[in-house]
């Protein structure tokens, strides 16, 4: 009887578990460490603005983002160091520690929030993952995975539906739902290109569902993996010194 049941379930075991898929996708996107040059375009119905930034990340605990353009924001740095997030604002010469309450606030006026940028919460550690079948997204056969937050996880989403390609573990689409089950944001990846030996979507577009003609697009100009970085690079002292 038991063997018969196992046989019946076999097809499901043949595919990796949801958590494994998410882990692999994250590993692919981040590597041990990475260094990226990004262009961020914030689009509004009658307004548009482009930011240029450079980012460094080491594991999931350390990351640093340096703004390079426009001139008025040049030199602004966001640092994530373990559980703390710091912001260096050069034109007022102040280091500001961002409180956890600000994690859901818009980052530099974009549709990404501070948490999206510095990844204080982790889609691997803070969520339970379950398979919801397969679906084609932008020409890729994708696993559909439901992320439900763990009870004590510091996250605000009610759930996330992620679409991760079967081939190559690309995160092509994520839908963010609030506690009441309403769809709030959609993050879509596109323009899959090879960057430092890995094929990844080079364009990420965050679209808030309830606002017309609002979106923020993040384009990777370059992305390097496993660059030599030490934890000493991710300090509040270095925030003030870091250059491109």
């Amino acid at each position: 009887m038991k063997t018969w049941l196992l046989l019946l379930l076999f097809p499901f075991f043949s595919q990796p578990s949801a958590t494994e898929i998410v882990q692999k996708a994250e590993e692919k996107l981040r590597g041990n460490s990475n260094e990226a040059e990004i262009t961020i375009t914030i689009h509004r119905p009658s307004w548009e603005r482009t930011l240029e930034a450079k980012s460094w990340a080491l594991g999931t605990e350390y990351s640093l983002i340096l703004l390079k353009a426009p001139a008025r924001d040049k030199g602004t740095v966001f640092l994530k160091r373990e559980k703390e997030i710091w912001n260096w604002v050069p034109n007022i010469e102040r280091t500001i520690k961002l409180p956890p309450s600000m994690m859901m606030q818009s980052w530099m006026g974009s549709d990404f929030n501070n948490d999206d940028l510095v990844q204080e919460s982790s889609i691997v550690k803070d969520y339970n993952h379950s398979h919801m079948g397969r679906q084609e997204v932008a020409g890729f056969d994708c696993y559909v995975i439901e992320f439900t937050p763990k009870p004590d996880a510091p996250v605000v989403w009610g759930k996330i539906i992620g679409y991760i390609s079967v081939d190559g573990y690309l995160q092509l689409k994520s839908e963010f739902y609030d506690e009441d089950g309403f769809l709030i944001n959609v993050l879509e990846g596109s323009d899959v290109v090879e960057m430092d030996g890995r094929r990844l979507p080079s364009k990420l577009r965050m679209t808030p569902v309830d606002k017309d003609d609002h979106y923020t697009e993040m384009t990777y100009k370059s992305l390097k993996f496993d660059v030599p970085l030490k934890t000493s690079f991710f300090t509040t002292q270095n925030m003030k010194r870091v250059r491109e």
Binding site: I42, R44, W47, R49, R72, D73, T76, V89, N91, I92, E93, R94, I96, S106, M108, G109, S110
Partner: protein, 407 residues
């Protein structure tokens, strides 16, 4: 009729003491009513001129929806020509553009939430008389770097003076970061205590740059030629501008000021009502006394053939003349006092003053010089005394000559 007037006039001066008592009671009534009301109205005028005249303006134009949600997203762009065309409308003295927003301002270890006002220095300083209020420094541009002017209350809070640097941290148009440092170039002696603690002025173009809102305005302040006609001008502008703009008068954007005044004013009116009542009994007393004293005289006059209605009319003319004299004298007596306190207003000290300050009002009690106060209250009291004098007329009609002559 002329004869009756002559009779009445002579009657008044026949018993000087009695008439003087009546006149004096009217005089004090008018005097107190005017002085009381002048102080009240003067305090309101001061509140209005502190808030409306020197800060908010009588009429404001915003993008539709700005008032309900005062964010930089609800600002508008308007070419200079269009602004000028509003200024050319009938009854409009001037139109001044502003960009308003909020920011955290910090120096040393102190930080404060403030109201940032980007103004056109050439227009606003002249139009609202701000220049004469800026005491140490008086210009925004200190050499090459633009500076800011803050209220004296805030300068006191931060314990800073002209030349010190303030750090601004805020959010601009479409969430763009609005961070900057500016030197303090002037301190503004703002009368309104709340504004004094929270107002920061900077040049309009600098505010537009700081908030990333190039060419955008939050408010147009319209100054009417005649301040009391703001409602007419408001509707003229409303008809002129498309409906994508909201045109508001100060009673709409400062309803709490209007309501405070209305609430306080009705309290004053109740007080005046009590004063009127006391005065009425005083005046009535003198009329009662007069009627009783002169009943024998009235009896004799009727007996020798004087028509009752003519006699009644004479006494009423007497009462009117006396209350008129008393009223005019009272008004004349009140005038120098209101005039003095208009120029040398009383300042409330201690707890009463602090209480007013927490409401955002300057604890100052200047007397109003509005002639309408004088006119309303002297007329009211004259009318009251004339109405009361009908008692004398009524008594004359009821008089039984035989009885009063024999008594």
């Amino acid at each position: 009729m002329k004869l009756l007037f002559i009779l009445a006039w002579r009657n008044i001066w026949r018993n000087k003491r009695r008439s003087l008592i009546t006149m004096t009671s009217v005089l004090f009534a008018v005097f107190f009513a005017i002085v009381l009301r002048s102080f009240q109205m003067g305090a309101y005028e001061n509140m209005i001129s502190n808030m409306v005249g020197s800060y908010s303006g009588f009429i404001q134009i915003h993008d539709n929806g700005f008032w309900d949600e005062q964010t930089l997203e609800n600002t508008f762009e308007m070419p200079t020509d269009s602004i000028r065309s509003i200024a050319d409308l009938d009854g409009v003295a001037s139109v001044t553009p502003r960009l308003e927003s909020f920011s955290l301002v910090s120096t040393g270890r102190l930080t404060k939430g403030t109201l940032i006002l980007g103004i056109d220095p050439s227009q606003e300083l002249e139009g609202l008389g701000l220049q004469e209020k800026i005491h140490p420094g008086n210009i925004f541009v200190n050499g090459e770097t633009p500076g800011v002017v803050i209220g004296s209350g805030m300068a006191e809070y931060f314990n800073i003076g002209v030349g010190d640097t303030l750090v601004f941290l805020g959010q601009g148009y479409h969430g763009i970061s609005a961070n900057a440092q500016y030197p303090l170039v002037g301190i503004l002696d703002v009368k309104n205590p709340l504004l004094s603690k929270s107002l920061v002025l900077m040049p309009l173009d600098e505010a537009q740059y700081l908030y990333g809102a190039q060419n955008r305005l939050s408010t147009l302040i319209v100054t009417p030629k005649n301040e009391s006609k703001y409602k007419t001008i408001q509707s003229t502008i409303k008809d002129y501008l498309p409906s994508s703009y909201e045109v508001m008068n100060w009673e709409e954007f400062l309803p709490e000021l209007r309501q405070t005044i209305d609430a306080d004013s009705s309290g004053g009116q109740i007080f005046l009502g009590v004063l009127y009542m006391i005065i009425s009994f005083g005046v009535f007393g003198t009329i009662l006394m007069m009627t009783a004293e002169r009943s024998r005289e009235f009896g004799v006059l009727i007996s020798i053939g004087m028509k009752r209605h003519k006699l009644a009319l004479t006494t009423m003319i007497e009462a009117t003349l006396m209350s008129l004299i008393g009223g005019v004298a009272g008004a004349l007596l009140a005038r120098p006092i209101t005039f003095y306190f208009n120029h040398n207003p009383l300042r409330l000290l201690g707890q009463a003053g602090d209480a007013l300050e927490t409401y955002g009002f300057e604890p100052l009690l200047p007397a109003s010089l509005d002639w309408s106060i004088t006119l309303t209250h002297s007329l009211t009291i004259v009318v009251i005394s004339v109405v009361l004098s009908t008692y004398a007329a009524w008594a004359i009609f009821r008089l039984k000559p035989i009885e009063v002559i024999r008594s």
